[in-house]
Subunit: 117 residues, 2 copies
Amino acid sequence: MTVTLHVCITCRAGQPVLEGEAVPGARLHAALTAEPAPEGVRIVPVECLSACSNGAAVALSAPGCWTYVYGQMSDADAPEILAGAAAYAATTDGIVPWRERVQIFRKRSLARIPPIG
Amino acid sequence: MTVTLHVCITCRAGQPVLEGEAVPGARLHAALTAEPAPEGVRIVPVECLSACSNGAAVALSAPGCWTYVYGQMSDADAPEILAGAAAYAATTDGIVPWRERVQIFRKRSLARIPPIG
């Protein structure tokens, strides 16, 4: 299954940003795309996930699957986000068993949405 | 277009709940379904939208559309949620112009997610 990891690249994560400096969302996207994506994971930048007070935010979605949104992510979390995305891609419904879920996904969930249709 | 309004019916919205008393999510669902749903809107209860610290939560989704998640909703917000859901159902992509968006949706967004695919 190919899943999509949307990454908000405009997120300021509530921090002041100096002119010419990349915002936290853009830094997170850069960290996530520094290495080849895990198998079955497509990383797509997006302008604003409307989770501004809980940014930086990412979302995992795939046809027929539950969608998950996570907040308070930083570039330091990139390896764990990618591991979590790979685990999500290995499911058929988007639901990774709790014990197998990466720690940051357990603790920083903003929302999950049932399959659309 | 038929859209889905998911309503978390297990949400406690951070409040203590007395035994035998309906939780805030269940009360919200009851208020939303007290009248016939707006045209094109399907109201579906769901157990946990994983937005527990920002509950009660609802989500609007439809095939090919942006998904929106809103938090801090209560049964008193039911009429405005239904108006917002009707406006969402009248779009082709899920994006209701800002000025036409109901106030509670402007102020209590938890996240939005691009169309899945």
